[in-house]
Homo-oligomer: 287 residues x 2
DNA sequence: ATACTAAGTTCAGGAATTTTGAATATGCAA
DNA sequence: TTGCATATTCAAAATTCCTGAACTTAGTAT
């Protein structure tokens, strides 16, 4: 019997969804489904009632989960005997993509002080691509980056935040369809060399005809929103970034059609950390 | 983490030898070694001190075993929730090779009465080959047979007894080398159509020149030993069989060179029983 | 109702792990 | 020291596990 599958089961019983667990464990829904099915077959027991969505635990399923927790608890004790450092200890260099540092860094440092007593951190900020290269070369131990579609290299990505991209437009234009704005207002584009900048550019070039107003490229989220606040243009940025700086004169318009989402993830080299340490590090980024 | 490996570890800690555990679990020493190594690597801990033979548990190793027992205990509770019958229940047809039935059957029935309350048994005896065929065809649920080198078919074999073959010779010839006897006494050969008979024949034809006395074939162990008791010939049979019938006039001579051993095993179809039931059934054959 | 969407299942292949048998090494005992 | 039983190593074979794509289904919006 595989304790990994039991762990999956317990997480599903807590999060209530295969999909969330798959994401949490950096694997696919398919795998989660297979693992659960394997347990059900080994025990010849129906753990989930599939006639509901999300699947609900059967009474036996609940009992199985309870026993599984006991096993996992015992396993944890066993792992605690491990000779290797299973706790975050020592000095670590962590990179933050610039656009995330403002919001994530303070909480991270606070959590680190409270929950990682044996670890100290050196921090730096740069573009996602640069950070990833530095993690790969071993200069950094880990980095918070905007995940993109390109090669996932040899790094492991652990999702920290999922941020929806939204339009910030001056209040007086807020009721117009954003497609129409392109011809009336300059589009304020965040640095297209950055990870999120690429996401934005990709969307704007795909969904609109080129505007006749002159677009402006800026490297500061704060500056961009300040411009929107003043009615000088509109922009597309991640929701938390917009809300941080938006004044009363700034309207926030969610995207209609395809949800464009920015994934902020912690990138680490495969097997750079022990399971316990990795878990602890990810925990420092809060929920 | 694989509970199978933990189980292996715990058994090794109890039996004190990789080899014994490999046999008990119907697998190879190599597998046992690999499983233990895997645990040691996962924990980065040295569980056994290899500078001793048999390997002795280190202090950490002892601690690991204790935790492993907790995990296995919890796992057992989980398995107990199983929907399937995990206990021997119902009616079973068991075959016994004739030469083993005298000694094994009484104890088996006693154990069954005490430890398999929900099971009843129908028994039959025949030659090993016949029994194996009947197990394969589903007429029998299991059979105690003399294991031979030939095709292991689709059956699973669980070793029950390891019996050494010895010579039984009249006392007055007991101090002579057995090789010399062949020319002075008839050899009393047990039915060469049976599993053990083949083992015996194989050995006798290989190690001695053909005797000038007339050899005798009998189908009864008891009759053969009775003849030896009377000084009418000598024989080669399994130690417990000889001791059962030998009188004071019968000498028992162990084999010098290669240990010829008879393996009495329980043959069952693969996956005919659940793990628990199989375990229980094997247990009914005593130590 | 109908169609849509998000969530789970199934399946086949590919990746990773485990098992095995043969060859090799090592401790213990004579 | 040899002999022997036992354990380790190694590479191939068997097995298990994971993945991505296609498919199904429950809940929801139209």
């Amino acid at each position: 019997m595989q304790t990994r599958a039991l762990h999956t089961l317990v997480r599903v019983s807590i999060l209530g969804s295969f999909a969330k667990v798959a994401e949490e464990m950096n694997t696919t829904i398919s795998t989660v489904s297979m693992q659960i099915k394997a347990i059900e077959e080994q025990l010849s027991v129906e753990i989930f009632d599939r006639s509901h969505r999300p699947p609900k635990l059967t009474p036996v399923g609940k009992a199985v989960c309870e026993k599984a927790k006991l096993i996992l608890g015992a396993e944890k004790e066993l792992l605690a005997l491990s000779g290797q450092e299973n706790e975050l200890a020592g000095n670590f260099r962590i990179g933050f993509v610039a656009t995330a540092s403002v919001r994530l860094l303070p909480d991270f440092l606070k959590n680190a002080q409270e929950n990682a007593l044996h670890a100290s951190f050196e921090l730096e900020t740069a573009l996602s691509e640069v950070l990833e290269a530095r993690v790969q070369s071993g200069i950094l131990d880990a980095a918070v980056v905007t995940e993109s579609e390109r090669e996932r290299s040899d790094l492991e990505y652990h999702l920290l935040r999922r941020e929806r991209l939204m339009f910030a437009v001056p209040k007086k234009f807020a009721d117009q369809p954003v497609e129409a704005l392109r011809s009336k207002l300059p589009f304020l584009q965040f640095n297209p060399g950055s990870g999120i900048g690429k996401l934005i550019q990709q969307h704007m070039s795909g969904s609109s005809t080129t505007g006749n107003k002159q677009d402006i490229v800026l490297e500061s989220v704060e500056a961009i929103i300040a411009c929107v606040n003043e009615g000088l243009g509109f922009t597309l940025l991640s929701e938390p970034d917009i809300r941080r700086y938006a004044s009363a004169t700034c309207g926030i318009v969610p995207m209609k059609t395809d949800e464009l989402v920015r994934h902020l993830s912690l990138a680490i080299p495969k097997s750079r950390f022990s399971d316990g340490a990795r878990q602890q590090l990810i925990g420092l980024f809060g929920e």
